[in-house]
């Protein structure tokens, strides 16, 4: 029987990112099973469900089968949740069903869990709870040998929670990341709504994901979404593919800092676009991001630089060499430099901290130097998700972002970064070494400029004490992008030009 999906109300959990993938939150008035292996952050999820509720003005009851309330109060303090204080204020209540050290438990005859149910109902009434968390079922099954009785009784508890109109989270263990939803047949009594937390090891890197397996009769985002557990915040879900990639795009142009490059791009970069600058080491990528930021400062725009390869001092020294004064820009509040070693944290954490910095500094321009440094610390899949998340975030803020990417070979070639993100970026600028009669020169070309005509020449690019300069196109050389140079006689060029003259794009600005 088809039911109207809109009738199932949602309870926003308040867990960052989760409500986005849950299309609004957990089904209200129902119990959701949260299943995961050991160390998959089930207890954090269960606690955060209540903590976020308290912060939204809703009281909660935490039924603990495993850790003692004292341990939970202590462990959750690191996430900024002062449970003891909430207990005093009557906004949080524990039902302590954890093993008691002094009790030796013996079973003689038939029993039920009416006492537990009575305690939960009492706690719910006492604080006026709308949310209940039970963590975790495995512990109670382990202590009371009769699985069938425990299952029946838990079903009775879930039924009672429903009749009281409570939204609940029950956690359960699984032995494997893929396979049965939970042990002890728990899915037999909480079948409607299931969330899976995973803690995967991929290429020797840990990757946490959350997947909504089902919300009966209602919609949610499909597949696994990465999440991270951060001190002071708890679980933060990164709703990558759920992010709408249909940002407003403006026709407003901003300067790259180089009049020649602006002209090559058809009048400058677009204000809310992402520019990828790719090249081998020493081709001028850092110079290009420095110029980009200095140009913003001239117009009173703030720039935020995330540097993953060089120290702040090194960057400032480089900039001075090109006539750009980072310290003055910082003093004027027009620049903030964040230096960070990518190895220190995972990419999920990196993304969250980058987003925090952006929200705090509110720049008009963001530069990342270099994005490829972040490849090292992640799987390719994780890296791609990171770039999508970052790109979408920056575009939502209506800022311009410039990423640099280092190619592994000096001549020609592409980087992993390029291969995975070139479709995501709006503009691509290539910097290449060019061997010209025994001398190394630099070349620059605009490979892609979404939504605009652009110069398709490969031009000479030079660097001096005043910064970057773009000169004439290389005319008598081909194969620059691939690194397989061939010199072509001028007469041959004339002949080829004449051959293609009719197909030239009339929109192209004259070189």
């Amino acid at each position: 029987m088809a039911t109207d999906v809109s009738v199932i109300e949602r309870l926003p959990t308040g867990i960052p990112g989760f409500d986005h993938i849950a299309n609004g939150g957990l089904p209200r008035g129902r119990t959701t099973l949260v299943s995961g292996t050991a160390g998959s952050a089930k207890t954090v999820f269960a606690s955060q469900f209540l903590a976020a509720g308290v912060q939204l003005g809703e009281a909660g009851v935490f039924v603990t089968f495993e850790e003692s309330p004292a341990a939970l109060r202590r462990n959750m303090l690191g996430f900024g949740w002062n449970i003891a204080e909430w207990e005093e204020q009557g906004r949080w209540a524990f039902v302590d069903a954890s093993p008691q050290a002094d009790d030796e438990l013996m079973i003689m005859g038939a029993y039920d869990l009416s006492a537990l149910l009575a305690r939960i109902e009492h706690a719910v009434r006492r604080v006026g709870a709308t949310r209940v968390s039970m963590d975790s079922l495995g512990a109670i099954f382990n202590r009371l040998a009769d699985t069938r009785v425990v299952r029946n009784e838990l079903f009775r508890i879930v039924t009672s929670l429903k009749s009281m109109g409570l939204t609940a989270v029950i956690t359960a263990e699984r032995t494997h990341e893929f396979g049965d939803i939970g042990r002890y047949g728990v899915e037999e009594f909480v079948t409607d709504d299931v969330v899976i937390l995973r803690n995967l090891l991929e290429e020797e890197k840990r990757r946490r994901t959350v997947e909504i397996l089902k919300f009966r009769g209602t919609s949610h985002q499909k597949g696994g979404f990465p999440f991270t557990v951060i001190p002071g915040q708890g679980i933060v879900v990164i709703p990558l593919s759920a992010i709408e990639l249909k940002q407003r795009s403006s026709n407003v142009r901003i300067s790259s800092g180089s009049p020649e490059l602006d002209r090559m791009c058809g009048g400058g970069f677009f204000r809310d676009s992402i520019i990828l600058v790719s090249g081998a080491t020493g081709t001028g990528k850092t110079l290009m991001s420095t110029t980009f930021m200095a140009s913003g400062a001239l117009r009173g725009e703030r720039s935020l630089l995330f540097a993953f390869e060089e120290s702040r001092d090194q960057l400032a020294r480089n900039a001075i060499g090109w006539g750009v004064d980072f310290e003055q820009m910082e003093q004027d509040g027009l620049l903030r430099v964040v230096c960070n070693y990518p190895e220190v944290t995972g990419l999920e954490d990196q993304l969250i901290s980058i987003q925090d910095e952006i929200l705090r500094f509110r720049p008009q321009r963001v530069a990342i130097d270099s994005l490829s440094a972040l490849e090292r610390v992640s799987t390719i899949k994780g890296f791609r998700e990171f770039v999508i998340g970052l790109t979408s975030f920056i575009k939502h803020q209506e800022m311009a972002g410039l990423y640099t990417s280092t190619t592994p070979t000096l001549l020609g070639g592409t980087s992993i970064t390029e291969a995975h993100i070139s479709t995501i970026t709006d503009s691509i600028i290539l910097l290449r070494y060019v061997e010209l009669f025994g001398e190394m020169r630099r070349g620059l070309t605009v490979l892609k400029m979404r939504g605009s005509a652009h110069d398709k020449d490969i031009r000479e690019f030079s660097i001096d004490g005043t910064g970057m300069h773009i000169g004439r196109p290389f005319r008598n050389i081909s194969g620059i992008l691939s690194g397989q140079f061939t010199h072509v006689a001028p007469s041959e060029i004339e002949r080829l030009s004449a051959l293609f003259r009719d197909e030239e794009n009339p929109l192209l600005p004259e070189g």
């Binding site: 009790d103 003689m108 005859g109 869990l113 006492a115 537990l116 009575a118 305690r119």
Partner: protein, 100 residues
């Protein structure tokens, strides 16, 4: 049993209303106090968790019926309707079986 025998025994039984299971456990304990433990001052307290959930919370009771031997030491906690022979129950409670 080693040492001087205690003169007093305190048993707390937690039940959920007057269910058949509760009645069975209560009857078993009454019989035990009247017969096997007749020599002692037997203090049997029945606590209904539905009427007094706070008491259940304080003693962290999960299941009903739950029997707690509060005195003498060592404390003992038994879950179930106590459908076992009296000797077994006494042994589980760590109480002397005088067999009078």
């Amino acid at each position: 049993m080693n040492g001087p025998a205690p003169s007093k025994i305190v048993l707390h039984l937690y039940v959920a209303g007057r269910s058949p299971r509760a009645e069975r456990a209560i009857a078993t304990l009454r019989r035990l106090c009247e017969r096997e433990l007749a020599r002692y001052e037997c203090d049997l307290v029945i606590i209904d968790v539905l009427a007094d959930p706070q008491q259940a919370e304080a003693r962290k009771i999960l299941a009903t019926p739950t029997l707690i031997k509060e005195f003498p030491d060592p404390p003992r906690r038994i879950i179930g309707d106590l459908g076992v022979p009296p000797e077994e129950l006494l042994a589980a409670l760590n109480l002397p079986h005088d067999g009078l």
